[in-house]
Amino acid sequence: MNDDSLWTIFLNASLVNNFVLAYFLGICPFLGVSGKLATATRMGGAVCFVMLVSSLCAFAINALLVAIDAPYLRLISYIVVIASTVQLVEMFIKKMSPALFRALGIFLPLITTNCAILGLALFQTNKGYDLLQCIVYALGAGSGFTLALILMAGIREKLELATVPDVVQGTALTLMIAGILSLAFMGFAGLGA
């Protein structure tokens, strides 16, 4: 059991230990979808939603696995649940907004292999959060991920107008910016501790 207050959990997940900039979870979409602000915002929303749903599912599964004493099945069952949740969200978005579906492209199915989602499920199990704490943790992690994604997309949109040497173009430049953002987020250390 874990007796962190809800506010502490939220701050910790979103700012202090930001999933992208401190734990390096979800780097693939962070580098891949952060080119345009509009896409980044929607991707953030999709990840938030998947995080919330899979966090709830992971909580239920963990309770079940503890009850039948089979912790070695944890990883396998988590990944199956996450994969099916992503499938569900994909069908939902395809139906509701085909434009968004096309904009997100390959990155939507790739949420399955987004470490942030599985990481969230594993961390909440390791920390022994109860149901309410899990929900807040998922919301915090999701908003932290969205925040990092939006910041990055904003910077990259500005960079398109700047002259950058050819060698630095692409992933290297994005990683540099991520490093600086990560330094900035270190300023939150100690907050809500």
């Binding site: 580098l31 990883l75 989602i117 990481g119 630095v168 290297a172």
Partner: protein, 222 residues
Amino acid sequence: MAVSDKPVTIIASDRAPSTDEFIKGLWRENPVFVQVLGMCPVLAVTNSGANALAMGLATTFVLVLSNALVSALRSFIPKQVRIATFILIIATFVTVVDYLIQAVSLDMHRALGAFISLIVVNCLILGRAEAFASKNTLGRSILDGLGMGVGFTFALLCLGGVREILGSGSLFGFALFPAGFQPWIVMILPSGGFFTLALWLLLFNRLKARKAARGVTGEAAA
């Protein structure tokens, strides 16, 4: 990002295993520096050389075995559920390696934390299963997994080495500098990971650009 892998799919699958399957992962198609796959563990666990090596070996283990099993079962797996099947296969081997590391060294298990379990979502492994192992023979798939795994470990060591030398003044725990050395703490913090990887990618971009330029001038001279 498993989609970036074209050359392999063109090769006919009935060719005999060759050393090229192994060699290509080391340098020409290095998973980290050239394909930029599986970034999360690359950045997260490379704050020391030992962690990097352990992560590299664990990933290689999973990569070789999952490639082997996917390749062996490739004619039985229905196309529609192949990704789910691959993930299940990978998750099984990751669970094995998780318990293995726990049995061998509890300290290492604590240092790597959840990142061992997160090998499951390493895009590199799913990428190789989808792009290579599901289309090629058992021998070639094992060699491919081994090559990619060694290339991945090599890249992790490149990052882990630089970060540990600068950030703690040591390599694999042995002090390298006299006592007066002021370690660059930032290198072992998360931002150091981003910077070090960015610098390695810069180096590779530079090499690629030079090679391309030399190719152009060479053709012009001929």
